[in-house]
Symmetry: C2
Subunit: 229 residues, 2 copies
């Protein structure tokens, strides 16, 4: 049995963390169904591996504690090497690091600026002051200002998408004809927005729309079925 | 014998095209030494496969004409599959497409804005009007204005580098412990700047400095030995 500790909102079924979705999809790719454990900002002591472990996702697999979405994907790839590959070998894994780096450095911050005003509603009231302080420092403005500027953040978000469209010109997935961990890393950011906001991130005729639909359909619609508040 | 048609400046030994450098490094990776043929903007009729073929790089391998740097890399990978792999398999190749897409959509335009004023010196006089018109449309300003704004373009260039640093945190190359075509695609943009301008693209303490040095050292210093005007 694998346990997956996931970020939850006030509703424990509301699991919206982009990084936890990477782990969830990677587990499903390997044919693994974890027992998921909801975790909320501030519940540091409740995490396996605490106090060293301070963020989710965390998995516990047969006593092994693995923290951090990328580390989890690598662990699964090597521990469950009889299942479908997440990376397609060492070079595929190295190249995936660039996709993950771009997602973390470029895509995820751009998504965050679009939905931050919506996300704040799901932060437990007692955690809001600390959460606000950290994010407002990063944003350079208040959450409320950022929420009001969503109309500017949306074109800025769309302006970072060309490499994704370029990569998907010829194949259904970033991994090629089949999805890979690169798809899950990028998809996490889209799923985060979908589960926290009603904003239409993509224009309707964007070719990325079809890619996102395919990701939502994978594993019997695992991501599509996810609870939205 | 493989022929490689490469962009040249007024000096036929001055080969500065980023896309031609991708092909040159991919050939060297496979242990292949092409006969290089200098080609200049405007010499459309001199290209194998003309009139369909209009840009370099072009290779002619045993009668096969292959145009476009990505197509050349794929051709070499499959035709010379006994040599070191450029992609490490189909998933590695799919993931490399994202790196190429990012290079084409983000990195290369950012480099171009830094060096455009310098590059213009190497365009043959009779081609300058057409070259100018096309580039000025893309830049939204004159070549001379862009040259004068190099001081603004440099920080904008450096601002796009985080995904590259992220990907290279753990390994010597984007391909992992060994270089892959992803490295050559990105390196082409740096080599283009190195061969056309004296601008210092990277700050001295940038960790990408070491990566670029490694690429310059590969294949007996192939890229380091390249003629600079």
């Amino acid at each position: 049995m694998i346990e997956l500790y996931e970020l939850a909102g006030a509703d424990p079924e509301h699991r919206f963390s982009p990084f936890c979705w990477r782990a969830r999809m990677a587990l499903a790719h390997k044919g693994l169904e974890p027992v998921t454990v909801p975790w909320r900002f501030g519940e540091q002591d409740a995490l396996p591996g605490a106090p060293e472990t301070t963020t989710v996702p965390v998995i516990v697999d047969d006593g092994h504690v693995v923290q951090d979405s990328t580390a989890i994907a690598r662990y699964l790839e090597h521990r469950y090497d009889d299942g479908p590959s997440l990376f397609g070998g060492p070079v595929g894994e190295a190249h995936a690091r660039f996709v993950i780096g771009w997602t973390d450095a470029v895509l995820q911050p751009a998504v965050f600026r679009v939905v931050v005003g919506d996300v704040f509603r799901f932060v437990p009231p007692d955690q809001q002051p600390a959460w606000r302080q950290k994010r407002e420092q990063r944003l350079g403005m208040t959450i409320e200002e950022a929420g009001a500027r969503r109309v500017e953040a949306l074109p800025a978000f769309r302006a970072v998408l060309p490499p994704l469209r370029w990569a998907l010109r010829e194949t259904a997935y970033l991994g090629g004809e089949e999805p890979s961990y690169a798809d899950y890393a990028v998809f996490g950011a889209f799923q985060f927005a979908r589960l926290t906001s009603d904003v239409a991130l993509l224009e309707h005729d964007d070719m990325l729309h079809g890619w996102r639909e395919r990701l939502l359909d994978l594993f019997g619609g695992l991501a599509r079925r996810a609870a939205r508040p």
